[in-house]
Symmetry: none
Subunit: 246 residues, 2 copies
Amino acid sequence: MTEIITAAMLVIGDEILSGRTKDRNIGHLADIMTAIGIDLKEVRIVPDDDEEIVTAINALRTRRTYVFTSGGIGPTHDDITADAVAKAFGVPCEYDAKAYAFLEAHYAARGMEFTEARKRMARMPRGATHIDNPISGAPGFKIGNVHVMAGVPAIFQAMLDNVVPTLKTGTKLVSATVHCPFGEGTIGTLLADIQKAHPDTIIGSYPKYQDGTFWTELVVRARSPEALEAGRAAVQAMVDGLKKSG
Amino acid sequence: MTEIITAAMLVIGDEILSGRTKDRNIGHLADIMTAIGIDLKEVRIVPDDDEEIVTAINALRTRRTYVFTSGGIGPTHDDITADAVAKAFGVPCEYDAKAYAFLEAHYAARGMEFTEARKRMARMPRGATHIDNPISGAPGFKIGNVHVMAGVPAIFQAMLDNVVPTLKTGTKLVSATVHCPFGEGTIGTLLADIQKAHPDTIIGSYPKYQDGTFWTELVVRARSPEALEAGRAAVQAMVDGLKKSG
């Protein structure tokens, strides 16, 4: 039996909920998870609020194989992710000796003062292990199945690159896309029949609208190439049939 | 005492979680909520899964003044939002007589067959009221404090424009669209300057690509007609200037 590996993402930050910053990490994580065969099952966005973060972390970490967070690990007063994650796990949040020494040396080498604000970035839940940050130094961390990463997209992506090789990965989904020049109203019933006839595929229909015209991108996903090809061929045959009759 | 009005968003769709489609509705809703003084407190993204949708709807609608959903109201087999929302409210999901008659006439006027798939779009929870869809006809709906809208960004935005004036503290936003024959790379810096110079507007840029050409739809939104007109005129002047210099 194939083990199904699942993931959830928690995006932390008032600036995403206010619209001031547009999230770019959800789509990236989704792409990477799909590529390595992990099912991203849920995403939540919560504000910089202790209770909201604790509740979400505990809801997600108990239900999914992995949790990935973005945001709230910088040096300012509203960066409260480390404290909230520690609280969720019921452990103290404290200066991590290795992170502290690393950051002290990091700023010394740049002739920058190791301020109280910067020292905050060495705080993490007791027992956490580091996720290296090749861009700006301050590490993310992992505790249990929760991976805590930065919100700045370049740093989030670099940290995720370091995390990916440590993950159990599921069987990779393979996919095929069929371009369909008809809208969903035209193909809906036929497509539902194809989905029923190919239960080992996941057939998605993605409506597009541009300049007054509807068309559809049909994506077939499966865990085996054989199932994929059977599903794809059925969808393509449907489209070809409609073109002839249209 | 000022009443605090809160909102939550539920994004429904496997395609967002797989990374195939990148969400553009969260940022838009966040901008609009901020503009009209409603606090967006939480966003969740869930798959096209009955149980996940029901659980999320019930968690969010009991905790926030308003809930807005995107996705899953089209004509195909994976469009299960209406059924799931009905289940969350404990009411039947059935053909809505007004929506059915409207869609029947809508397709008849276009010489298009009113297929079983298209009929699905007339289904909604008993007691729901319509949210008009000026783009493709099939309405969204409102039941209790939950507003169910389409996932296609142009339709989501048009539906939201219809919902905003009905919300408590919803200062009505007015909007104007400027067609721009240039891509975002050309106009990005100029447009950012205009946004800065017109802080009481929200200027959205919606990139389009067709037949090998990039162009952009620029939408200016504001709470007053004066601010709107000032912003619109600035955007139009930018486009006109580029046309001359191009």
